[in-house]
Subunit: 624 residues, 2 copies
């Protein structure tokens, strides 16, 4: 154990303080929508704006702009942040009230019990571990199960309100009349709601029942603020973190998790492969208001000293239960890496690049047996439905380069994932499907089309894809290009890529860059699909830009701090933030300023505009 | 005059030295293809690779990888760089040999003459200004004119060889057999050559004659290494620079230009609006191996003290001649901003955001007259063809935000640009068309489709477009997403956007980020259109990645320095660069390593692969 680990406790205390400071969004207020029961309080954020000052000195109010909020308890002005205590358990009563779960007397997993009483990791242990909860015998506690029985759970209501924010109100408020204008979308056959009023709890229930959307919400993660992943909802993003044998500490991982929420991650995957995976995960879940995903095979491999051949179903099963009882919300399971597909990767340029995929491939070959995740899939489903862990069916054979994209190994696995989706749904277990990887732009759409067709519209969750291999250090960008397109075509959640991809583990700044880059991709796809209200923020920011309300422009942006600091590099004076010009053109030569004059002039010329429209309609030609 | 300007001479001397150092690309050699005459020497770069070391210790050669070279004389190992002397005039003899131009006794432009003898700017002046060249009376010296007469100029031959590099050779060399594998493209009706052999001088001539491609090559820019812009060639990128009244010096602008070439800019636009525009431009052109574009109305406006109403045709005409005789290769001319369109912008969220567009709009409204660039278009063509300056018909009414995209003002102007394209072609003047701007993803393709239809397939040259407004400080990314898509759909050249867009003027590092980001976009589009050989670099880099040839991976990337430095943040030791693992997974847990084992195993199992293919063909299902 490193000396650093000894300081976990004091590190977390000082991190708690820092978070309190860093979660202050400029000119923002966190609001809550009240649901049908008192303990359903759904957050969104309002960014207030300064008024427009007209040339004759009049001031005109600009209404506050709503944004989807992922900041959780950390973003609440009243919050007393204490990472050592964990977050409030807001779902506890909802789960309790359903009456279909029980608190166990202790951990069911052998490994979990072992760690709980290991004096060597005592100092790393979260202090407030409670007894785990599990479905009562014969009960199925998945959101899909409830949905299929016609039950609208608090979780479903929560996500409906969350997606809706205060948009229904805004759509009726005349102050927003010009801001809610939105271009028609192209959603490639998805059924995006046309109006915020259509985003109802019943709509959520139907989408979950149909398997087109999932609400990852383990009954042991009662700190969770539920969210939904499906192509008929806003596009979500996942941020990865996790230590490795080479680098990173427990506190750093907790910090990256919270930092990701600060910038807008919707879910977090803990991909740790280094020391103290169990303890790290506990700290993360207890402090995470967003769903946490893991790849259980990583930890299983650690348990057998990194020897893939030594993996076994009993060991893996124990790992699933260990993690399910901690509260992991979705598991990446590489059950589609079937023995017969493995040789299909032999002629690839980069073989198998998925860690989980290569572990399972090695296991299959060593034993010359079918993948035990595939053969034990029904038993895995039994575990999933006892805790409501969702499947993220892993693409263990995803292409690791442009050359290997869309090949037989990749699509062979995808078809198997479709088969497994059906099986999981027989158990009412929620499923999403992981997707590539590295795919050139002209081959991206085929991935979505095949996934929707062969996996029965289960939500697609893709990494990028990267549209070229030649830009290491810029792969947040190469992948954001693919990600925006694939999300537009129908991917429900995007897994972020940081600038360090292929080169090293991301640090805090890389996480920020990766998250913001993926917020861009997700938002651009929302615009393209015409997700209700998605254009409001663009419209408001552009209006602020046009009116030289610099502060509003910064505050409405995805990264206000960076926008302001870039502006200040050339014009640092406070006065420049109310100046009617910027450093690009200088004070005399400003197109925005000239436009205002054009506008005033045009207003004076009655009928001019009608004439112009007529002129354009006639073909706008003089010469020919 | 600022004190800084006094040091231009010594600044340039020390910059010359720095350039000599910074243009060393790792493991790269610049090569030249010999054309049909001794002075046609066309550059490309070869990146050499280290051998593959197999598990049994065998070494297998990896052949060098060709990349398109924009580094010009600066990238030549033998070069003696002296910015104060300017570049070698490689086109001088080609132009002379055509016998249709004459050297004038002095500058034709009044303003040019005035500046040439102004003692106040003496210290800023380039020392080796030669007499300008112009078409002999009655002669037309445009590349389009020659092309239409069936003449293949050295410029056309040059660009054919340049696009082809050594690919024809490589396609026949067995060492490259696996590297040249390429996925079929989707080029939306363009006619991308299928094989490098098809990229002939005659093909170039036909494309230029048809107006589908342009070779911007002013007869007064004999330092130029010709390049081609057209959707049946590789996608090009432009980097902007230029001072403003608020910031930047002459030397900084020269530095940004050279720095842009270092990273791969294909053309440069000098958008200066500040002091000493004339002198800055001279330094830039004399040191530019790439085409230089300008927006002459910017300088014209400076000449009338920033008062748009005071602009006039004679003043503008003099500015065109002044710049044409310096050697500007293409002019952005906002001749499509017609009086009747101006009121169409009045209800926009951000009005007119193009500087040129707003200047012309103001002029039109002030005089209540038609745009003088439109009414004098024939006379402008007369100037263009006397020097072979290409039109970049400006989109003065491009949308400045998502809300204003694809509106009547924008498309009205586009139709007029089509009308003007036809007119320019009557004069055999080369034309490209500028495009937006801010456009959400679902509306991007309509821009290309309309441009191709209404502007008769003249090359499209777009800024981004940005697919959302909400990410200032990340607009290189928001725009690269739109840029990749629009280039795939058929845009020939992309104008870069830096992280400072909307916030400030880019510095040297922003230029680098902007250029590399746009190299990504252009290359991803080349892959999507299946430009011959475009996948070789991806294939080679991926193979290097898979084999843990870290150095090769860095060297083959768009930004080797950054890739290496990111890698070194976690594993700085030199040994880690030959290690068979990286910081993401650590030594024990490496998917790439496991894959090699899988591959070895699969090779042992004869017939296994055939069985697997058969299995997949049968539907790969056991469960159902």
């Amino acid at each position: 154990m490193s000396k650093k680990d000894l300081y976990v406790s004091s590190e977390l205390a000082s991190l708690s303080q820092e978070i309190g400071i860093s979660f202050k969004y400029p000119q923002s207020q966190k609001h809550y929508r009240q649901g049908s029961r008192p303990d359903i309080k759904v957050p969104y954020r309002l960014i207030s704006q300064s008024p427009t000052v007209t040339q004759d000195g009049q001031t005109l109010e600009n209404p506050p702009i709503p944004v989807y909020d992922t900041s959780g308890y950390y973003g609440d002005a009243e919050a007393k942040i204490d990472l050592k205590a964990g977050l409030p358990k807001i779902r506890e009563q909802w789960i309790e009230d359903r009456g279909d779960t029980e608190k166990l007397s202790g951990l069911s997993s052998e490994y979990g019990r072992q760690r709980a009483f290991d004096p060597k990791t005592e100092h790393l242990r979260f202090n407030h571990i409670t007894r785990p909860r599990r479905a009562k015998p014969g009960k199925n506690v998945t959101q899909m199960h409830y949905a299929r029985q016609g039950i609208i759970t608090p979780e479903m209501e929560y996500v409906a309100l969350r997606e809706q924010m205060n948009l229904s109100e805004i759509y009726r408020d005349p102050r927003y009349a010009s801001l809610i204008k939105q271009h028609p979308g192209e959603d490639f056959g998805a059924s995006i709601p046309k109006h915020p009023d259509e985003i109802t709890p019943e709509f959520v229930r139907q989408e979950v029942a149909a398997g087109r959307a999932i609400i990852p919400a383990n009954i042991n993660h009662s700190e969770l603020e539920p969210m939904i992943i499906g192509r008929n909802f806003s596009v979500k993003i996942n941020g990865n973190l996790g230590n490795s044998a080479v680098t990173s500490s427990l506190t750093q991982e907790v910090e990256k998790m919270v930092w990701s929420l600060r910038w807008g991650a919707d879910t977090i995957m803990d991909l740790s492969t280094g020391a103290n995976i169990h303890e790290t995960r506990e700290w993360i879940i207890r402090n995470a208001p967003v769903p946490i995903g893991t790849v259980p095979i990583y930890q299983a491999l650690e348990k057998v000293g990194g020897i893939a051949q030594d993996l076994s179903w009993p060991l893996f099963r124990d790992t699933l239960i260990e993690q399910a009882e901690q509260g992991v919300d979705y598991f990446t399971i590489h059950a589609g890496v079937r023995l017969a597909y493995v040789p299909l990767t032999a002629d690839r340029v980069t073989g198998i690049v998925s860690r989980g995929g290569s572990i399972m491939a090695k296991w299959c070959l060593s034993h010359h047996q079918e993948n035990f995740l595939y053969t034990h899939f029904d038993e895995i489903c039994e575990i999933m439905k006892a805790y409501d862990v969702a499947f993220s069916l892993g693409d263990g054979l995803r292409p690791g380069c442009i050359a290997d994209s869309n090949d037989e190994a990749q699509f062979g696995e995808l078809y198997t994932l479709g088969e497994l989706t059906k099986k999981a749904w027989e158990h009412d277990v929620q499923v999403m499907i992981e997707g590539p990887g590295h795919v050139p732009l002209q081959r991206v759409k085929a991935n979505v089309d095949k996934e929707l067709a062969h996996c029965y519209e289960a939500p697609f969750y893709t990494l990028g894809p990267l549209v070229t291999d030649i830009a290491p250090a810029y792969d947040h960008i190469t992948s954001a290009i693919g990600a925006t397109n694939i999300a537009w075509y129908g991917t429900a959640m995007l897994c972020y890529v940081t600038p360090k991809e292929h080169l090293g583990l991301p640090d805090k700044e890389d996480v920020r860059t990766g998250i913001i880059t993926y917020k861009v991709a997700a938002h651009a796809a929302d615009l393209a699909k015409a997700w209700p209200g998605s254009q409001i923020r663009d419209n408001a920011l552009s209006k602020a830009r046009f009116e030289f309300r610099w502060r509003d422009q910064f505050n409405l942006s995805l990264d206000p701090e960076k926008a302001e600091s870039y502006h200040d590099e050339t014009l640092p004076a406070e006065g420049a933030k109310i100046a009617h010009f910027c450093s690009m053109c200088g004070p005399k030569f400003c197109s925005m300023k000239i436009t205002q004059e054009v506008r005033d002039y045009a207003n004076q010329q009655a009928g001019m505009q009608e004439k112009s429209v007529e002129f354009v309609k006639k073909g706008a030609k003089l010469y020919q």
